[in-house]
């Protein structure tokens, strides 16, 4: 009886501790390298080149700290002025999971760093890379693509949209994403 109690207590402890990973705060992380990422899915004719996935980049959209920092920097670097809170303005909406230049975190990273021809400025050298990854993770969370247990359930401002935890995740794509609209 006693040992069973102890065992369940230990188990509970482990479960609780496992929850900490969601919030790990890395202040000195090396930004994941970005190499050989297809800048865009949008290419004439052929099938899209597969995106070179970077496992370290994926960590960003699984971590609550990175996503909330990304949210802060989305505001600080004034993405608001063109994309509003994700609904779009003179820039396209970022919350609808329809992408001109690809919706993988690596592709969003490239969109921010390289800029895009129809009016998206390049932020190369303007935003330190680690923060671009954080912003990209936040942008992914707007369309329900970041880990549900890592996104904030409540924003600081009044919004008419659902909280990020309730944005439905997109089903795994079998066909290439619609990129031209």
């Amino acid at each position: 009886m006693y040992s069973r109690c102890l065992a369940s207590l230990l188990l509970l402890g482990c479960t609780l501790l496992a929850g900490c990973e969601r919030e790990t705060r890395a202040f000195h992380e090396e930004a994941p390298a970005i190499n050989d990422v297809s800048p865009t899915d949008f290419r004439a004719g052929g099938t899209p080149r597969p995106v070179a996935k970077n496992p370290q980049a994926a960590e960003y959209e699984r971590n609550a700290f990175h996503i909330s920092e990304g949210k802060r920097y989305y505001e600080w670097y004034n993405c608001y002025s063109c994309h509003a809170a994700g609904g779009g303005d003179i820039g396209p909406p970022l919350m609808d999971d329809e992408w001109r230049y690809g919706g993988e975190i690596e592709q969003i990273f490239s969109s921010i760093v390289e800029g895009r021809p129809n009016g998206m400025p390049s932020f190369a050298g303007r935003i330190p890379e680690q923060q671009v990854w954080e912003i990209a993770a936040y942008v992914r969370s707007m369309s329900g693509n970041a880990a549900k247990d890592a996104v904030p359930s409540r924003g600081d401002e009044i919004k008419t949209t659902k909280p990020l935890t309730q944005v439905p995740p997109t089903p795994e794509r079998s066909e290439p994403p619609r990129s031209n609209r």
């Binding site: 202040f27 000195h28 802060r72 600080w76 670097y77 050298g125 303007r126 330190p128 923060q131």
Partner: protein
Amino acid sequence: MSGRKHICAALVVLLAGCSGQQAALDAAGDQAATIGDLWTLMLWVCGFMYLLVLIFLAHAIWRARHALDAEPLTHGSGSRAEHPLRMALGGWVGLIVVGLFVLSLATFFIDRSLAQARTDDALKIKVTAAQWWWKVEYEGMAPDQRVVTANELRLPVGQPALLELHAEDVIHSLWIPNLGGKEDLIPGRINSLLLTPRREGEYRGQCAEFCGLQHAKMALDATVMNPDAFTRWRQQQLTPAPAPSTPEQIRGHEIFMSGPCAACHQIAGTPASGQTGPNLTHLASRRTIAAGARPYSFEDLRDWLRDPQSVKPGNHMPVVQLSDSDLNALTAYLDSLK
């Protein structure tokens, strides 16, 4: 033996609170003095009551030791102990009521007098707290008379200053113990705090409401100066940043303007106009870096720019990778912003 030593050490620590840069009992302004008076009154009233309790306790112990064979006290009406007991009890209740009444009245009137102080000739200053630094703006007659600085508050001696308190993100609280009481800074709400400094000197304010990771390193360097020196300081803060003069400073200027720095920081007179970080126009005239995290010096500034996340982990300024020579150039430029 060592017990006595410990008591001495504890006393020294406690007494250190009575004077210095951050001491509520070393009043350098009207508000702190008023609050100090209330504190002294409370000390006397509570000290007196405490002493009485101890005397009665000692008496009871002494009596228990020496009067064991005396006739035990019986209670109930008509017993011999009845009358003195009743007197003592009545006396105690009376004392407590009077003591609490005096304290309540004193608190009430002091609170009123602090709230009703005259503010028409006050210097108006807007203080905004953000995680984890203070933005300080001196309102002027015209927009071009507005001084913006960070992490330092300068006040002319003798003139009341009315601080308008804002918060950017979460609740903070401003406390400069030598000058006045605490006041919260609350997002979406404007509070105010009146300070009337009476003695020149350098004091230390501190955020007094837990506000996140770097709450402890959120100090405000407060200086009370003579009015002429204050006017000179204010005029000097109104000038745009000096242009870089040496080749190294010019390099640093370029790095600042083309890198991420300009997106978050403002330097008046240059294209850098970011508003999310502290204004750096006259950075080198301040005494601290990053809300008191370090004293200001060339080396400390370079440490900060090399790696703000190890000087103040978790703060909202990112690490920007720079080569050693770029780092020196950037530091040289910022160090010229007197």
